[in-house]
């Protein structure tokens, strides 16, 4: 008995030793920052970009982010840019997630045939996934550029010199800049979802479709009633990663639009592609460290809420 306890202890001890380096780094760099960020969010911004002269400001960062104030014209948000960045993030996710799923599912369905050279197509579509986001963003920024960009040049033969792609460029207008970023990102990332969908499609037994054929179900009905439900786990995964991806979006915006072009919404001048990640970076870059920490905290809470809602939604659908 004693021997077994001792052995147990020894086993636990060695387990701990194996786990320790990872846990230590995890605790220091992932767990502690959550607390530390909360602590930082009560401090103001140093005037000289130094990290030591932070001034205690209490909850005023949060008041600034979330609060409203009265002006002669009525109640106004203290920080409209922050709320706007949430709207832009919502749009970004709202466009990129369905389009991304559609593109990757479409590719997967095309590839889910008996094809020679299937591996070639798989690799070719997947390749852009592994390439550096910044570089891809820079390239697309130049492709979209008006007058001299590849897209502008190609569009002139079909639409003449005066077309929108040649005069303003997709990234030059507040209306089209965000969708243009999304398109570039989908062309970069569609291969990832494609592989997932393809694997799932190949796991669906042919017999189910044959049975449906006999029952007289058309192609579309088969797709809607058999394929989609069987792909649901992948769809959920794509939505969840898409949400996290939108909240994390920064590099593509930095490389392609720098948050612009500016649009005027409700009397405020706002960046039409300034997603929350980019807005956070801008605050941080401007030396508003405490403010940035407070924003990350608000975003963290929002993320938790969204994740919670997603789980509720998806687990309810599973039943």
């Amino acid at each position: 008995m004693i021997v077994s306890i001792l052995k147990m202890k020894k086993e636990n001890f060695s387990s701990l030793l194996f786990l320790l380096p990872f846990l230590l780094l995890f605790g220091i760099f992932l767990l502690f920052p959550i607390i530390y960020s909360f602590f930082l969010s009560f401090y103001g911004s140093p005037k000289d970009f130094s990290l030591s002269n932070l001034e205690w400001v209490g909850i005023s960062n949060y008041v600034q982010i979330l609060g409203i104030h009265q002006t002669p014209a009525g109640w106004k948000l203290n920080d409209p840019s922050f709320w706007w960045s949430l709207v832009v993030t919502l749009f970004y996710g709202g466009i990129s997630i369905p389009l991304g799923i559609a593109a990757s599912l479409g590719l997967a369905i095309l590839l889910n045939n008996k094809l020679a050279g299937k591996n070639f197509f798989r690799s070719a579509f997947f390749l852009p996934n592994v390439l550096d986001m910044l570089v891809v963003g820079v390239i697309w920024g130049l492709i979209y550029a008006p007058k001299y960009g590849a897209l502008a040049q190609i569009s002139t033969i079909f639409l003449g010199k005066d077309n929108f792609l040649n005069t303003t460029g997709l990234l030059g207008s507040g209306l089209t800049a965000l969708p243009a970023v999304v398109i570039a990102m989908i062309l970069k990332g569609a291969g990832f979802g494609m592989i997932l969908f393809l694997a799932a499609l190949q796991n669906i037994p042919e017999a189910i479709y044959e049975a449906a054929d006999i029952d007289g179900a058309g192609k579309w009905e088969q797709f809607r009633l058999i394929t989609i439900p069987l792909l649901k786990p992948i769809l959920i995964f794509m939505v969840i990663t898409g949400v996290i991806g939108s909240l994390n979006a920064f590099t593509e915006i930095y490389a392609m639009t720098s948050g612009g072009p500016q649009v005027v919404v409700g009397g405020e001048t706002l960046g039409s592609t300034s997603v929350s990640g980019y807005y956070l970076y801008k605050q941080f870059e401007g030396g508003k460290y405490g403010y940035a920490a407070a924003i990350s905290y608000v975003l963290l809470i929002l993320t938790l809420i969204v994740t919670f809602l997603q789980q509720k939604l998806f687990s309810a659908e599973h039943r």
């Binding site: 045939n113 590849a150 033969i157």
Partner: protein, 497 residues
Amino acid sequence: MKNMSPIRIVGFVALLAVLMTISVGIFGQLLKFGTMVVVSFTHQPVVNPKFPPASDLKAFQQIINKFFEAYNSSDPGNTIEHLSSSSTLEKTKEAFASGFVKRYQNDFGLSLSGTVNKEESFVQDSSLGAKIVYRTIFDKEKKGNADFEFVREGEVWKLKTVDFTRLRTTMDKSGKFVQGAAFSISYLIIVVVILKWLKTPVARRYDFLKMLFLYEALVIGVVVVMFPFFWMFSTAFKASGTELIFNEKNPFDIVPNEPTINNFKRVLKMDPEQEAQTDPIEKKNNFSTYFVNSLLVATTAAFFVTLLSAMAAYVFSKKELPYKNALFGFLLATMMIPGLMFMVPQFFMICKMGLCGTKLAMFLPHLASVFGVFMLKQFMDTIPSSLLEAARIDGASEWQVFSVVIIPLAMPIILTLFLLTFLFHWSNFLWQLIVTDFANPLSITLPVGLALFRGQYTSEIGQIMSASCFSIVPIAVLFLIAQKYFIEGMTQGAVKE
């Protein structure tokens, strides 16, 4: 089904036409690209690829305008309707300004001055002949002689024709051959497809059409997805100032006709024409240094992440520890938090530790990878525990069990994690951007270096693109070698869930 036949044939012919277009386009561009790379490394451009600097162009334009003014005043009746002149397009800017420009400069005593930026000179202004000349000349690759003809249209003079007797470069000489080869391959494909069509029984020709359509759709998809990278490579070989000039007749023809490797030399600071750097740090401040830095950071990080994750995964999968399942669940839950939220506190911690600007700072906070532990645990769960027991009975220590039994068995997945982590740190732009100490340029990594370079040399697109190659090419090659690991690793988390 018999009445379907004409429609089928029309469809087949249409698909053949599309196939021909795609295939000529793809093979033409790929072959031309291959030739271009060889030519760019083996041949110096026949004429200096440097276009006349923008200041000269403005001057050129001014001269022409003044010339016409003077011409108008010397001819009060305004009877002259037509002018012609010729010019030799040579490599030096003086030579460029010769021909009719220099001649009229002497005649009217005009001085060269003024500036115009590169982009602006692309704006086509129909009232200014000179700008059109500028455009036209460069579109024609600035070689040989040019004959100009100007025609009066009311108050302004307009360029009517430019006639070139072109010098033939290696690219020009190989152009016909390349095109011929592209067409031959395409015809071959067409013939094969037609033969297959004829061999297909009539009843199955509809399926054949569908397959053909499918292939064409996929190929077009690949072209769209790959276009940006092909454009990047092609632009990287374009001479400074010519990056944004397209083939007017066929904008899909994006491979330059006068390639140069100067862009690569410049981003590596190896171009003798660049101002000599005496400062040893400034000399090293180029993309070869950034490349080595990125390689160092990504490799070190990947090694440690893999090691730590393997050790942790071993515990979670095979060893006993109270509450280990709860702990694992908690770890997984933290994966839901977007990494951006950690940026500010991690930055503060790293800087308070005095690590800001060091290479260690570039990966230290990302060493604890929950994803890695998850991935390795999934795999280790499939290793039978009896193997470990056998090793323990043979007297192996815990570390020996781990290093001799577990690691070799889990090698494929460990390799996968290594590659994925390498990739993550290779492109970990935001974090590397904020911890980089720009006062010490030798610590800059590739993505940060590229962002910095782009900020400094906004209009040097060729150089930006050649700098991008340093990030893209190694990863693309790595992917082609180890794509199985990449694809399986990146998609595993989703499939297993």
